[in-house]
Symmetry: C2
Subunit: 170 residues, 2 copies
DNA sequence: ACCATAAGTTCTATTTTAGAACTGTCAATA
DNA sequence: TATTGACAGTTCTAAAATAGAACTTATGGT
């Protein structure tokens, strides 16, 4: 599968992975949320090669996640700032950071703590249902095909189904 | 930067990216949450090459996200199922799907709808503060160094700071 | 004239991925 | 007995992506 093919998949996860599913894009976005805006600052704090950084910034601009804003005329210089579409990535970033906090920290503890200015406390992010407000777990969610589902998708026989069928016939 | 170096970074995001930050891992995990468990089923539904699939499954097992469970003795066959560590990735998956639902769908609409069995309604995931329950946005969060922060990190002068300093001196 | 800042671009070497074919084990079938 | 098919990989070569360093362009300061 080619990289570009992901954007066309009838799957919201695949399409998002087309935007952020590589080594560097998420790290660049982390820096954006930490108020980094300029080419050399991204490069210095990430250690990414300049080539890749230029490429990724271009991609994120193309997807409308970042916007180039001029801050100097001669020579023309730009800052990269998050659009609303980019700001909306915050729950993804936070859920990734939270999983790392729980499952990937070493003995020294968390690298960062997060304070919610609204209530003044250190917090963890919690994902809840928009309708009833209860915390979500995979077990309590059922998936339905939506209007954009793949047309006429005859449920492809799985290896397990084939095994079962063979066992029943034998 | 090498792939393995990410795991060592004092950053929960970088360490999580070391696990899920490539083209395929998130798509494999999507299939896991949709109850796919076997090699050939992953291969058929994703179109991933068998080589890469074997490699990624090995990696996810090594990180403790998936576990191999034998389901047949002769010949020995295994299913790949999510561990608790893997199930905890659900908020990441859901926030990615939700962003795609909002920002990446075409005219036909969402490929999938999600029903919360607990309350019976179609829902969207919402990320809230664990302490006050209010929805989170980047604007209302302040970041502090935690116990695992990079030791003696003298805040690296950014390009902007250098520019400002030069301007003040000039 | 010389150096520094800033944001890239270009180059080669290395690593990763795509795509297809091949291997090994066992069960059922002809 | 020989053949076929299921299943989970491994091996191979060609193509693509990435790393790492040097180079370019435009400008301002000493």
């Amino acid at each position: 599968m080619k990289w570009d093919a992901l954007e066309e998949e009838p799957c919201s996860l695949a399409r998002t992975v087309a935007v952020i599913g590589d080594r560097w894009s998420l790290l660049i976005l982390r820096e954006c949320f930490l108020r980094i805006r300029r080419f050399d600052d991204f490069q210095a704090s990430l250690g990414i090669t300049r080539h890749l950084l230029a490429d990724r910034l271009k991609k994120l601009v193309r997807f409308g996640v970042l916007r180039k804003i001029p801050y100097q005329e001669a020579p023309k210089r730009y800052e990269y700032i998050l659009t609303q579409k980019g700001l909306d990535l915050y729950p993804i970033i936070m859920s990734i950071v939270h999983w790392g906090n729980i499952h990937m920290v070493d003995a020294r503890g968390r690298p960062l703590l997060h304070e919610h200015k609204s209530c003044g406390k250190m917090f963890d992010p919690v994902m809840v249902c928009s309708e009833c407000g209860e915390p979500l777990s995979a077990k309590h969610v059922h998936v339905h095909p939506g209007p954009g589902a793949r047309r006429s998708s005859p449920v492809h026989a799985s290896a397990r189904e084939r095994t079962k069928r063979a066992a029943e016939q034998g």
